[in-house]
């Protein structure tokens, strides 16, 4: 069943992609193929493979329990927040929080996770910024 849904999504994606491809403006510079044909070929391949999933689905994979899915969603949200906060709060602080969160969700006890977060953040800062000279996000405090 999973594969049938996935196949339907693939077909829809192919249709959307082909539709957007028709909207590509033609340019005054022209070659015999133009900017649309290659996308149409890709859309055809996407669509056909999607149809195959619908018609001949594989057995459904083992999806994680709903609570796990929620957890993954929260982790994604934390990563997005991290990406957005990085330029605001600086590298060391945001990374310490994000790394601690990940470590905690991977079963580290809270205190150990906090220590791990700080250690990872400071460690990366030392190795990549101080030793290798990579530019990391600077927050209001300069680190």
């Amino acid at each position: 069943m999973n594969d049938r849904i996935f196949g339907a999504i693939a077909v829809a994606l192919a249709a959307f992609y082909a539709w957007r491809a028709t909207a590509i403006q033609e340019s005054f510079i022209q070659d015999p193929v133009g900017p649309k044909i290659f996308p149409f070929m890709i859309a055809a391949l996407l669509g056909v493979s999607g149809l195959v999933f619908v018609l001949r689905p594989d057995p459904a994979p083992q999806w994680p329990h709903l609570s796990r899915l929620f957890e993954i969603a929260v982790t994604v949200a934390v990563m997005v927040a991290y990406a957005l906060l990085l330029p605001e709060a600086g590298f060391v602080i945001s990374t310490a929080f994000a790394a601690a969160f990940l470590s905690w969700r991977l079963d580290a006890p809270p205190l150990k996770a906090a220590i791990a977060g700080i250690a990872i953040s400071v460690g990366i800062y030392i190795v990549f910024h101080l030793i290798l000279g990579l530019s990391l996000a600077r927050g209001p405090w300069g680190f």
Partner: protein, 508 residues
């Protein structure tokens, strides 16, 4: 003779202090990444690329660093296979079959030393194969016009998909998805924006490094998160290594196995789409068929340890041949290495051999040097790496995630790229659940631009006549191999697939 003098020049390039140091670092990191379950050659190299790039390393040193990691990972994978019965990366899967039983008989040290020697032999002769085969392939590549290149790319997708997936349709879907992603941005030929939805950030297209790191490295974090495998699989008390010198009789007994497996592995590596996992799988199965007369395979037969290790290291060297000579990678990790080259504005292929021989031959010389370093690291110093195995994923995976962010942020300093990377991480995890191979996606993102450019160039030359795509014997041959490569696994795939796949691999 000319080849040897070029190789000599290569050694002059590689034997600088900086390059030797980078090779050493690469070998060390590579062995660690190979040994740690959850980090393999492809995602290991993927998270290092942005770093090598932002550190501003020139092409040759950057390539030396990353290929050393690649060779190192092929060595490292065996350590956890033998000691823990958990393959450190996918190509090391076959090594568990006889390596772990050997360790349980108290011969862990001998198994580690023997597999180290087998790895050295495989990689050493495969690198010689690279030296002689790559220039020959370049001569063939000089005959390629745009139509032949288009057919060659199609061949790469067809065979890569055929061997890396259970389901051809899913491989085709993955390739189409990757190609579709590559069309986002301003069209290089006519200057019109495509699929940008008015978003300024998308005009430059999606950076393939962002896609690769997201798909390979970040998705791994989600896989661990899903199963809560936070604790170390390793148990320190179980790991007794013992003597690290295999008896001479064992070496003598395994020599024919190593020789056969090196040849098999190298051929498997050169074929587009196969890679090291197939190399070790074929090497083990064929060796078992030839020498398992007393039914000792699977119960700790040394030949069953030597064969897959020689096979996967030889395949790793072989996979570099099409990557360097044609610009078409033979496996997931070589696809990632290709991304590195493209990020440095170097297009592999005949021109690379003509215009930058120092890059090619310096790299090959560095592989010889790195292989020697790896042998030294992996036998006398193996206990050092065994300690690394004790790092539990609950601390390792946050490091992987954070280093991925650091690398991508370092390239562009753009929050948008980080968000795109997260999207690719989630996408990679979902597709792995659905058994869609990730390597064709990466290949599509990497090669889409070239593929379209060659198609349109061929059409421009022929003035819109589509038959030009099948217009030369060379092109027809390439199409024939492509079709064969796509169809054959549907017919004979079940022979290859037994016990070879765990469902959530990333590719090698």
């Amino acid at each position: 003779m000319e080849t040897l003098s070029l190789l000599g020049d290569g050694f002059a390039v590689a034997l600088t202090f900086q390059n030797l140091f980078l090779a050493l670092i690469g070998c060390f990191l590579g062995t660690i990444m190979g040994a740690l379950p959850g980090l393999g050659p492809s995602n290991g190299v993927a998270i290092l690329i942005p770093l090598a790039f932002t550190l501003g390393l020139p092409a040759t040193p950057a390539l030396i660093l990353l290929t050393s990691v690649y060779y190192g990972a092929m060595y490292g994978g065996r350590i956890s296979s033998i000691l823990l019965n958990i393959p450190g990366d996918e190509p090391a899967l076959m090594t568990t079959l006889d390596g772990y039983p050997m360790a349980r008989q108290g011969k862990a040290g001998e198994a580690l030393a023997l597999s180290g020697i087998a790895s050295f032999v495989g990689a050493f002769f495969a690198t010689w194969g690279l030296v002689y085969l790559a220039p020959q392939l370049v001569k063939v590549a000089l005959l390629f016009g745009p139509a032949e290149y288009f057919a060659l790319f199609a061949l790469a997708f067809a065979t890569l998909g055929g061997l890396s997936s259970k389901n051809q349709a899913k491989a085709a879907f993955a390739a189409a998805l990757g190609l579709g992603i590559s069309t986002i941005g301003v069209d290089g030929q006519t200057g019109v924006p495509r699929f940008t939805f008015g978003e300024v950030h998308l005009y430059d297209g999606i950076d393939f490094l962002v896609a690769i790191v997201g798909l390979f490295a970040l998705s791994e974090v989600f896989v661990f998160l899903e199963s809560h495998r936070g604790s170390a699989d390793a148990d320190a008390s179980k790991m007794k290594i013992g003597r690290l010198t295999p008896p001479a009789s064992m070496l003598r007994e395994t020599t024919p196995a190593m020789a056969r497996s090196t040849v098999i592995g190298f051929i498997a590596g050169v074929l587009p789409g196969a890679g090291a996992s197939l190399g070790s799988f074929l090497a083990y199965s064929i060796e078992k068929r030839i020498s398992d007369k007393k039914g000792t395979f699977g119960k700790g037969d040394p030949r069953g340890v030597a064969a897959p290790e020689a096979g996967n290291n030889a395949a790793a060297g072989g996979a570099l041949v099409p990557m360097l000579a044609l610009g078409v990678p033979g496996s997931g990790t070589t696809a990632v290495l290709l991304a590195m080259l493209l990020a440095l504005n170097i297009t592999p292929g005949p021109l690379l051999f003509q215009q930058n021989p120092d890059v090619v031959w310096g790299l090959i010389a560095a592989l010889f040097i790195g292989n020697g370093m790896l042998l030294l690291m992996n036998i006398p110093m193996v206990s050092l790496f065994v300690r690394v195995l004790l790092i539990p994923p609950k601390y390792l995976m946050p490091i992987v995630a954070m280093v991925s962010f650091v690398g991508i942020y370092g390239i562009s300093g753009s929050t948008f790229d980080l968000l795109v990377m997260i999207v690719f991480g989630v996408l990679g995890w979902t597709l792995r659940k659905l058994d869609v191979p990730l390597v064709p996606i990466v290949l599509g993102v990497l090669l889409g631009d070239q593929m379209e450019k060659n198609l349109r160039r061929a059409m421009t030359i022929s003035d819109g006549d589509w038959t030009v795509l099948f217009g030369s014997p060379l092109a027809i041959t390439l199409w024939a191999v492509a079709i064969l490569g796509f169809v054959a696994p549907i017919l004979f795939g079940h022979l290859f697939r037994v016990r070879r796949r765990d469902p959530e691999h990333v590719g090698d």
